[in-house]
């Protein structure tokens, strides 16, 4: 059975999808990621799809699910490197990937994740201010 490897880098999980995604593989990735976030209390997930040639409604939904579930587990998800043709096609298909953060490449995606983490900690700090 094929498996998409998930790399742990400190507080983050990194996934690079290099193979043609079929449904079972995408579903496995979804559950593997949820397990890993849980196990490592990860704060961010970065999914690189620059090598992915098609994202149809099923895979789009999986990406949305991953983002939603990671949010419940207190982690942010950023999808990076979506090919322009894939992005245009997804919109025309009628699935605008709402709720999924995107960035141009891995570097920018990492920066976005760090920004989000920083924002989280300031919000918590603000809350304590309000309480005092």
């Amino acid at each position: 059975m094929d498996k998409i490897p998930i790399l742990k880098m400190g507080d983050y999980l990194l996934v690079t999808i290099q193979v043609d995604l079929y449904d079972r593989l995408a579903l496995n990735l979804e559950s593997d990621l949820v397990n890993m976030i849980n196990k490592h209390s990860s704060k961010g997930v970065l999914i690189d799809i620059s090598a992915v040639n098609i994202v149809d409604s099923f895979m789009g939904r999986i990406l949305g699910n991953i983002a939603q579930m990671s949010k419940i587990l207190d982690a942010h998800t950023v999808v990076v490197g979506m090919q322009p043709a894939v992005a245009i096609t997804l919109i025309e298909l009628g699935l605008p990937l709402s709720g999924v953060h995107t960035a141009l490449n891995v570097e920018k995606g990492m920066a976005l994740l760090q920004e989000k983490l920083l924002l989280d900690s300031t919000v918590i700090a603000d809350d304590t201010d309000d309480n005092t």
């Binding site: 098609i54 099923f58 096609t89 997804l90 009628g94």
Partner: protein, 137 residues
């Protein structure tokens, strides 16, 4: 329309989908279809082949390179299954209609992504959906 090249691919399991998509990709490259058009065609094909596996369990796809003039070449894919058919095709073609618990995007979305979209469905007998994507336009 003249067919230049034709092949039939059986779809019985999910693994067949990967082979099928690769084949369509090869066809698109053979006629030098642009990247955006190719991506749209592959995505539409992916939706229809999934519907076939989910709702009809299995079926086949006829892949053809077709031409209507020296200037216009394209790829036609015909998805044929002997499944339950689509009870209300007008409804099925609208965004958000699903008999499952999905998003109901497959059929209307696929239609938007191709140049020609043609459905024939008979309740209890099966469904045939033919899509054509031109190389240009």
């Amino acid at each position: 329309m003249i067919t230049l090249n034709k092949e039939t691919i059986a779809i019985k399991r999910e693994q067949d989908v990967v082979f099928f998509r690769n084949r369509v990709n090869e066809y698109a490259e053979k006629i030098k279809m642009g990247l955006l058009n190719k991506t749209k065609l592959l995505t539409a094909a992916s939706e229809l082949v999934r519907n076939m596996l989910i709702y009809a369990k299995e079926g086949k796809v006829i892949c053809e390179i077709v031409t209507i003039s020296a200037l216009q070449t394209g790829i036609r894919l015909t998805f044929i299954d002997n499944g339950p058919g689509i009870a209300d095709i007008d409804k099925a073609m609208t965004d958000g209609y699903t008999t499952g618990k999905s998003l109901g995007l497959g059929l209307p979305g696929a239609k938007r992504l191709v140049n020609i979209f043609d459905v024939k469905t008979v309740k209890g007998k099966g469904t045939t959906i033919s899509i054509t994507k031109w190389k240009n336009g």
